[in-house]
């Protein structure tokens, strides 16, 4: 059974695309055939983060309009087996998306034997975001530890549970909370919301916490999903996220301030 997962947030710049790329690459590296679709038509970024921007010939909108086949548009990742990217169009806008078209693409991916279809949502609650979440079975809600991001995530959760296809049919979209750009030091200092605060407001299960890290930006700029950087904390945290998503019981890491070990802890811990 293939699963459609939307990576969404409401607010922009919180790390949806970075997380989509990392998550999809993680799933693929664990042997699951995975496609990641960029729904940000007109502002395509996913191909950059995935480092395939120079390999885009056809895009999502071409497939929807029947101007190319899905096979022609899907880009096979050269680093990770089982990973495919469906880029967005840069020259069109969100109006190019429609339910029927998106549904047919998703159904074709399912028929092709994809285990996971990751939908990278654009920011906002308009058409692009709506299209990205409409067919989702599960949702990863990406949130930064600050109030406006949490508020927007709350809003998008409401839309997910009232306007998605699953909700319209009387079901529930499974929700996962992914906190990114988390800085335990600043949480301790009181200028960032803690993961407990965020969870209390959103009251959905926590899938993972990605620490704020320079390697994320570096990885994005070089077109390598950060999850491939097995040395970095962010990469490891994303790998934990993927494991947890697949049902493994993995403890949270990198959520406590570093270098604050007390004397006794240093001795015994």
């Amino acid at each position: 059974m293939s699963k459609v997962i939307v990576v969404t947030s409401g607010k922009g710049g919180v790390g949806k695309t970075t997380s989509s790329a990392a998550f999809a690459a993680g799933l693929a590296s664990k042997g699951h055939k995975t496609a990641v679709i960029d729904f940000d038509v007109g502002l395509r970024n996913l191909d950059l983060i995935m480092g395939v921007e120079r390999r885009v010939v056809y895009d999502f909108v071409n497939v929807i309009n029947g101007e190319s086949t899905l096979k022609q548009a899907l880009i096979k990742d050269k680093r990770v087996e089982n990973l495919y990217i469906l880029p967005a169009s840069q020259t069109r806008d969100k109006d190019a998306l429609n339910k029927e078209g998106v549904e047919s693409v998703i159904n074709e991916l399912k028929a092709d034997g994809f285990d996971y279809i990751v939908c990278d949502s654009p920011a906002g609650i308009e058409k692009g975001a709506f299209m990205a979440l409409y067919f989702a079975d599960e949702a990863i809600v990406v949130t930064n530890p600050e109030v406006s991001s949490v508020r927007d995530s709350d809003r998008i959760l409401g839309i997910l549970q009232s306007r998605s296809k699953v909700a319209e049919e009387g079901g529930t979209v499974k929700e996962h909370l992914l906190i990114t750009r988390y800085s335990p030091e600043r949480v301790e200092g009181g200028d960032m919301l803690s993961k407990e605060d965020i969870q209390e407001i959103l009251s959905i299960p926590l899938l993972g916490v990605i620490p704020e890290s320079g390697t994320v930006l570096q990885a994005s700029n070089s077109g390598n999903p950060v999850i491939m950087d097995k040395e970095s904390q962010a990469g490891q945290a994303y790998m934990d996220v993927v494991s947890r998503f697949l049902g493994e019981d993995v403890p949270l890491r990198f959520v406590d301030p570093e270098e604050k070990k007390g004397f006794f802890k240093k001795l015994f811990g």
Partner: protein, 257 residues
């Protein structure tokens, strides 16, 4: 096919006198306030407040007037039985009075609205089922206890920012948290067992005895029967605590639960 006794949303026009042209002109003003809302909406005429003689009432003229205004006249109720023939001749359906309706059809909408809530998170108030007109039927204790039971809406999913939930003609019980930027409204009282963070409006149609009960009062705005207050402007010490809000005269009073 199935034939079921169900209630659905109807506008009820309460008439006080027999002047059809005045009724129509007042209704026209009302309609123009929200033309989209009233466009082609079914309407029922209630005669319980009528002071004039029902036998002198021009039911045909009223029907024509309503059609001209874009309403769909459905039926009449609470008129003296003597006028029944007159109303039928003018093409009106004479509706059974509330208390004589079978109890089955009373309990059905309750279940329905509950089932519906479980499916959708009802961002629109009109999603909620409305059992119309319960207040202005006989105030005396009723023979049938089931019929006198108040409608009740239960919300068991978080009410998120941007969502609105409205319990028409009933109380509301919320088992989940409500978020900042959300809005819950009821014509009756509201009970919230999760954290209350959004706006909360009880007695939305003017019921001054409606109250708000909550486990953790963090609301942005509280209101009963149109009297509202921003919680931040209140000097209550009960923020974040269990509280009850009621109306005393024109003032909202927040008390510990």
């Amino acid at each position: 096919m199935q034939l079921k006794g169900e209630m659905s949303m109807l506008n009820v026009l309460h008439i006080q006198d027999t002047d059809v042209s005045e009724i129509c002109s007042k209704l026209e003003q009302k309609r123009d306030e929200a033309p989209q809302f009233f466009m082609q909406s079914p309407i029922v005429i209630d005669g319980s407040e009528l002071s004039g003689n029902a036998l002198e009432f021009d039911f045909s003229a009223l029907k024509k007037g309503l059609l001209d205004l874009g309403f769909i006249p459905v039926g009449v109720r609470n008129f003296p039985p003597a006028a029944n023939n007159l109303m039928r001749e003018s093409g009106w359906a004479v509706m059974r009075e509330q208390q004589s309706a079978p109890s089955v059809s009373k309990s059905e909408p309750v279940q329905e609205s509950k089932a519906k809530e479980n499916q959708t998170t009802k961002t629109q108030p009109k999603d909620s089922q409305v059992e119309e007109n319960k207040e202005n039927t006989n105030p005396a204790p009723q023979a049938n206890p089931v019929a006198s039971m108040k409608n009740q809406m239960t919300v068991d999913r978080p009410v998120r920012s941007g969502q609105q939930v409205y319990a028409a003609n009933s109380d509301m019980t919320v088992l989940s948290p409500t978020s900042a930027g959300s809005e819950i409204m009821a014509d009756g009282s509201i009970h919230i067992y999760g954290a209350l963070r959004g706006r909360v409006l009880a007695g939305a149609r003017g019921n001054e005895s409606a109250r708000i009960y909550c486990q953790s009062l963090q609301a942005e705005l509280i209101a009963i029967a149109g009297r509202y207050q921003l919680l931040d402007e209140s000097n209550t010490t009960l923020k974040g605590k269990p509280a009850m809000i009621r109306l005393e005269g024109e003032k909202l009073v927040i008390e510990a639960l």
